[in-house]
C-alpha cells in the first residue's frame, strides 16, 4: 500500500499502459470477433469452418501459449512486430490478446443472434416485412440487447487477461511496475503487489457494476 502512495506516478503510468493495451485489444477483438461470428452463421461452408476452427483453437489454448507463439515463434517465420514506446512486447501482446479474445467475442455474438426467438422473424415475415426489414428492425435490435451483457463480461475478462501480457514481457503496463520497483528493493512484495491489485480492482469492479446496471436497463422482458 505504501508503495502505491509513494510511487504514485509510476503506478499511474502502468495504469495508463494497461488501459492502452486493453483499448487496442478490445477494438481489435470486437471487430475480428464480429467478423468471425458472421463467418460462423454464413451460408458458405468454408467460412463456417474457418469460424469454428478459430473458436476451437483459441478457446481451448492457454493465452500464455498464444502469447509465446506471437512473441517468439512468429518472428521466426518473418512476422516482426515494431516496438511501442520502447516496449518490445506491446504489439505481440496486443496481437495475441486480440486473437484469443476474438474467439470469445465470436461466441458471445453468435449466442446473441441465436437468442432471438424464431417466432420474432416468422411474425415479421408473416406481416410482410422484407429480409432487410426483418433483420434491421426486428432481429438485430433484439440480438444487440442480448449481446451486450456477455460481451461486457468478455471485455472485463480481457482486461484481467492483459496482466498475463505484462507478466510475460515488458509491455509498459501495470505488471511492469512490479519489475521496476522490485529492482529498487525499497518496498516489500506485499506492498507492491497490493498496489498493483488495487489498480486492477479500480478498473474491474466499477466495470462490473456498470455492466450490471446496463444489463438491467436493456434487459428484454420475455
Amino acid at each position: 500500500m505504501d508503495a502505491l502512495i509513494a510511487e504514485f506516478p509510476l503506478f499511474a503510468a502502468g495504469f495508463v499502459g494497461t488501459l492502452r493495451l486493453c483499448l487496442f485489444a478490445a477494438v481489435g477483438s470486437l471487430v475480428l470477433g464480429t467478423i468471425l461470428a458472421a463467418f460462423r452463421v454464413s451460408p458458405l461452408p468454408p467460412l463456417r469452418f474457418v469460424g469454428l476452427a478459430w473458436v476451437t483453437v483459441f478457446r481451448n489454448s492457454p493465452l500464455v501459449v498464444v502469447l509465446f507463439l506471437c512473441a517468439f515463434a512468429l518472428p521466426l517465420v518473418g512476422v516482426r512486430f515494431p516496438t511501442f514506446a520502447g516496449n518490445a512486447f506491446f504489439w505481440p501482446g496486443v496481437a495475441g490478446l486480440t486473437a484469443y479474445t476474438a474467439a470469445f467475442v465470436c461466441e458471445a455474438v453468435r449466442a446473441g443472434i441465436n437468442s432471438v426467438p424464431p417466432g420474432q422473424a416468422e411474425a415479421a415475415r408473416a406481416v410482410g416485412l422484407t429480409f432487410q426489414q426483418t433483420l434491421g428492425t426486428i432481429v438485430l435490435p433484439q440480438a444487440l440487447r442480448s449481446v451486450v451483457p456477455p460481451l461486457g463480461s468478455v471485455i472485463i475478462a480481457m482486461i484481467k487477461n492483459s496482466a498475463i501480457v505484462g507478466a510475460f514481457g515488458v509491455a509498459g503496463d501495470l505488471f511492469s511496475v512490479d519489475s521496476a520497483l522490485q529492482a529498487t528493493s525499497r518496498y516489500s512484495a506485499l506492498s507492491i503487489l497490493t498496489g498493483v491489485a488495487i489498480c486492477y480492482l479500480v478498473i474491474t469492479i466499477p466495470a462490473g457494476i456498470a455492466l450490471g446496471m446496463l444489463e438491467r436497463k436493456i434487459e428484454v422482458k420475455r
Binding site: 476451437t56 493465452l63 517465420v77 422473424a121
Partner: protein, 300 residues
C-alpha cells in the same frame, strides 16, 4: 434461426452459394499455400525441427516427450488439486452467502467481488512472492494451487449459488414443511440438486483451470508444461543448434486443445443428459417448471 429470415433457397440462391463456396475455398487454399511458402522460406518445414515432437522414429522423440511429461505431471497435479480445493472452499462460500446473517453475508460478497476482480496471474504471482516473504515457504506447486484456488473458488461459489437460485421454490418450501432446519435444507435438498444442474458449468470451469495452470510460468523455479517446453527449446538451441520454437508451441497448444476440447464435449454431453433426465423424471403437469429451471441453468 438464419433459415427463418428467408425462404428456402431457390435455384439462383443455390447457384450463388455454390459459386461463393468455390471462391472461398480458392481464397483459403491460396492463404494456406502462402503460409506454407512463408514457412519454407524461413526454414521452418525442416523435418529436423518437427521430428523430435511429431515423429516417433526421431532419435530425440522419446527424450523430448519425457522432459515434457515431467512438466505435464505438475500441470495435471496443479489442476486436480485446484479443482478439489476450489470446489470445497467454493461450496462453503456459497453456503455462507446463502444462509448467513446480513452483516456476515456482506463480508462474503465483499471477498467474492474482490477476488473475482483480480487477474488470476496476479493472485498466483502474489502467492509466489508474498508468501515466502512472510515466512511461508512451500514447494512452488502450492503457490500455483493457492493462486488458482483463490480465484476459482469464488467463481465456483457463484456457479453453485446460481444453481441454488435456479431450483424451484417448492423444493425448499417442502423441505421446511417436513421440519428440516435451515442447514439441513441447504445440505440435503438444495446443494445436491444445485451441483447436479450446474455440473456442465463446473466442467467448463475445469477447462479454465487447466488453461490457467500454464500461468505457473510466473513462479520462479517451477516447471509446469509450458515452462518445461521452454526448457526443452533452450536445450535444443544451446546443445543441438536446432530452433524448434514454433514447432514446440504448436505441440503444446495441440495438447491443451485436445484435453480441453474433450472436457468441453463432456460438458455438452452432461448438459444434454441432465436435460433429458429432468424432462423424463417430471410428471407431465410439472414438466414446464422443470424445463424452466433447466433452461436457466443452461443460460448461466
Amino acid at each position: 434461426m438464419t433459415s427463418v429470415l428467408y425462404d428456402a433457397p431457390g435455384p439462383r440462391t443455390r447457384r450463388n452459394t455454390a459459386v461463393g463456396t468455390a471462391v472461398a475455398l480458392v481464397v483459403l487454399l491460396g492463404l494456406v499455400v502462402l503460409a506454407v511458402i512463408q514457412l519454407a522460406a524461413n526454414d521452418q518445414l525442416d523435418p529436423e525441427k518437427w521430428g523430435p515432437l511429431f515423429n516417433p522414429a526421431n532419435r530425440y522423440f522419446v527424450a523430448t516427450w519425457g522432459a515434457l511429461a515431467d512438466g505435464l505431471v505438475n500441470t495435471v497435479l496443479g489442476a486436480v488439486l485446484t479443482l478439489v480445493f476450489a470446489l470445497t472452499i467454493g461450496t462453503l462460500l456459497a453456503m455462507a452467502r446463502i444462509s448467513s446473517t446480513r452483516a456476515y453475508r456482506w463480508l462474503v460478497v465483499g471477498v467474492i467481488e474482490l477476488l473475482r476482480g483480480l487477474p488470476v496471474v496476479i493472485t498466483i504471482y502474489f502467492a509466489a512472492r508474498v508468501l515466502p516473504e512472510v515466512g511461508i515457504a512451500l514447494p512452488p506447486l502450492w503457490y500455483l494451487v493457492i493462486g488458482l484456488t483463490a480465484y476459482n473458488c469464488v467463481i465456483i461459489a457463484e456457479i453453485i449459488r446460481a444453481g441454488v437460485a435456479a431450483l424451484p421454490r417448492g423444493q425448499s418450501e417442502a423441505a421446511y414443511a417436513v421440519g428440516l432446519t435451515r442447514s439441513q435444507v441447504l445440505r440435503l435438498i438444495l446443494l445436491p440438486q444445485a451441483f447436479r444442474i450446474m455440473l456442465p458449468a463446473l466442467i467448463s470451469q475445469l477447462v479454465v483451470i487447466v488453461k490457467d495452470t500454464s500461468l505457473g510460468f510466473v513462479i520462479f523455479g517451477f516447471s509446469e508444461f509450458v515452462r518445461a517446453a521452454n526448457t526443452v527449446i533452450q536445450f535444443f538451441i544451446g546443445q543441438l543448434g536446432i530452433n524448434l520454437t514454433l514447432q514446440m508451441y504448436i505441440a503444446v497448444a495441440l495438447v491443451f486443445i485436445l484435453v480441453n476440447y474433450g472436457l468441453g464435449k463432456l460438458a455438452e454431453y452432461t448438459e444434454r443428459r441432465l436435460g433429458r433426465a429432468r424432462r423424463s423424471a417430471a410428471p407431465p403437469e410439472l414438466a414446464t417448471a422443470g424445463a424452466g429451471a433447466g433452461g436457466a441453468a443452461g443460460g448461466a
